[in-house]
Symmetry: C2
Subunit: 359 residues, 2 copies
């Protein structure tokens, strides 16, 4: 660790360290303005920030991180607590998601602190510790619940955060900052696509309705039915399905109905793969005797035969935008103005086609 | 951020903050001993550490992280720089790996700072920045190369680090700390298993020999051949294969040889899945006309038909041990004593069987 000590002592020894007061004097600004400009606060005009940054570079100013943290109350670190009890452990997208967060954070001069928890209690203990130890300034909260205990917990502590997903059935408190992909619209479009192919009996398989995305995707499915003039049949809707085996069982249950569906919309690709297992069991061809459309765009869905028609999410972009929204909030922007809703991109495969003609 | 300020000011205001000097006086120890005990330095006897920890709890001592960092030169943070140009983006194991690191770090009172890079230049810039900003005390380096530029870079800066994998063809400088899974032994065992089934022509498909694990697994393959009394045929060994499409092309090339193999050992599951694609193309049954064994234990390998016989790696355990080894080093242990080699666990599937009888 000699290098670190050298870095600190260089500033203190021989050539005197350039201080914020030196920059302030050279620029004819107050120390507070210079400090806020260096930290990119929203209340400092861009032109002033540019002037300060140029003078800092010219005079060789380098911040002392600890001192800066004490002064600003910021350590320039975003926090992410992974929930290890999440059913799919974030699937194959975690590298893209972390890549997005960290690349955006780096561009802005911030870093990412990652922790994990096995339960809500552990999550709260971990968050509390990260704050007490000044390891994190604010949090990115992945995978939101309809009623998300993390929201009340962090609000009570006055800790900034941004949600990946909404809360409250898609109508969150307008004071919350969030980024979400419009899963309801994707499910509506999936039903519209199937209805246009001629399907009249369309099932839906979704995860626990405690997850906000599950509720929204179910609403989208029902909206799609209404739009297509198909009346909603509760027997065709199965919730609480979170993995491939559950997706297979849901397909069996739906196909065993007196009036089975000819198509199933799955809320997640991981569960939709179960329909392929059941099709193999029963000698049905996916895309012919049974159509399937789902959501996520996992690599496995593109490699299975026939490829899964799915609405794909850009996890890298999600990570980038969540980092950007949280950093904006930490620099003083009002969270009430920091919401983004993007659309999922349809990736057509071979898993959906016209219904088998009644013979 | 009010809560953070409150936390700090509580210590300074009303009830006076308990200091290290208070603990030292109560225990009859020097401040330095108390400080080193609180930071779990290896040169303090376990009994002393226990006494200090108990007194700290009893008197309500809580460290001031910034002050502590200035004093110890430590921020109690491990660093991990994900390489976004890695061919498989760490596959589906990243959540388990991060879960292992963060759970172990939390147990010891440390945290994890994650960054990412798209190139070697960006990696070095990111590492330098994390050190200068005192965001990280040491690094976990995933996916080692035979000649890994990160090793020289960090050594020159006197920054502690632990390798996930070895360097130098498996014979790293004994002063380096590392954790590795014995891929050579797994590949040797794969060949032994196939030879015992009766295979005489066994191919090998591996990634770039710039990766240390690729070299070791190839050596294990060749050692397995020698052990089984099968002479090595360079035509049966294909390197530089990193994805499923490449694995498929390698299978085609091997099967098109005048004397094709009846079995192929793949260094990674992701590439082995390509053999299934070629088997479908050519009407071969995997496990009958073509046997396949590989390494990693990815979930997809267990779901494909027939399931892939593979040597599985415990990514959670890898993360835990890497964190433990790095923390031990940061607390003063000699890296020369911090090496761990574990074995991969065979998960038999249906992808390997006796060779087709010559008719």
């Amino acid at each position: 660790m000699e290098e670190i000590r050298d870095t600190v002592s260089q500033g203190r020894g021989g050539t005197r360290r350039v201080r914020i007061s030196d920059l302030a004097e050279a620029l004819g600004l107050t120390k507070s303005t210079v400090s806020r400009a260096l930290n990119n606060y929203a209340d400092i005009a861009p032109e002033t920030r540019r002037r300060v940054a140029e003078m800092a570079a010219q005079m060789g100013y380098a911040p002392m991180p600890y001192a800066q943290a004490v002064r600003t109350g910021r350590v320039r670190a975003l926090g992410l607590v992974l929930e290890l009890d999440a059913p799919d452990r974030y699937g194959p997208f975690l590298a893209d998601f972390l890549g997005g967060i960290t690349q955006e954070a780096t561009l802005e001069g911030w870093t990412l602190t990652v922790a994990s928890s096995n339960s809500r209690e552990e999550m709260e203990a971990t968050v509390t510790r990260l704050l007490q130890e000044h390891k994190v300034d604010g949090f990115i909260l992945p995978r939101t619940m309809v009623e998300d205990p993390r929201v009340d917990f962090l609000r009570a502590k006055h800790v900034p955060f941004v949600l990946f997903g909404r809360v409250g059935h898609g109508k969150p408190d307008p004071g919350l900052s969030w980024y979400d992909v419009d899963g309801a619209e994707a499910m509506r479009a999936a039903v519209a696509r199937l209805a246009a192919l001629g399907h009249k009996r369309i099932g839906f398989v979704g995860p626990s309705a405690a997850y906000n995305f599950a509720v929204l995707r179910r609403e989208g499915y029902q909206a799609g039915l209404a739009e297509a003039g198909i009346s909603f049949d509760p027997a065709l809707e199965i919730m609480e399905v979170s993995d491939r085996a559950g997706g297979a069982q849901a397909a069996r249950d739906l196909l065993d109905l007196p009036q089975p569906p000819t198509a199933i919309v799955y809320a997640t690709d991981a569960t939709a793969l179960g329909a392929y297992d059941v099709a193999r069991e029963r000698g049905l061809r996916i895309g012919r005797e049974l159509s399937v459309i789902s959501y996520d765009g996992i690599p496995e869905g593109r490699m299975i035969d026939p490829p899964l028609t799915s609405f794909a999410v850009d996890s890298r972009h999600a990570g980038e935008r969540l980092a950007a929204l949280l950093i904006a909030q930490l620099r003083g922007a009002d969270p009430a103005g920091l919401q983004e809703l993007v659309v999922a991109r349809l990736e057509p495969g071979g898993s959906d086609g016209p219904p088998p003609s009644v013979s």
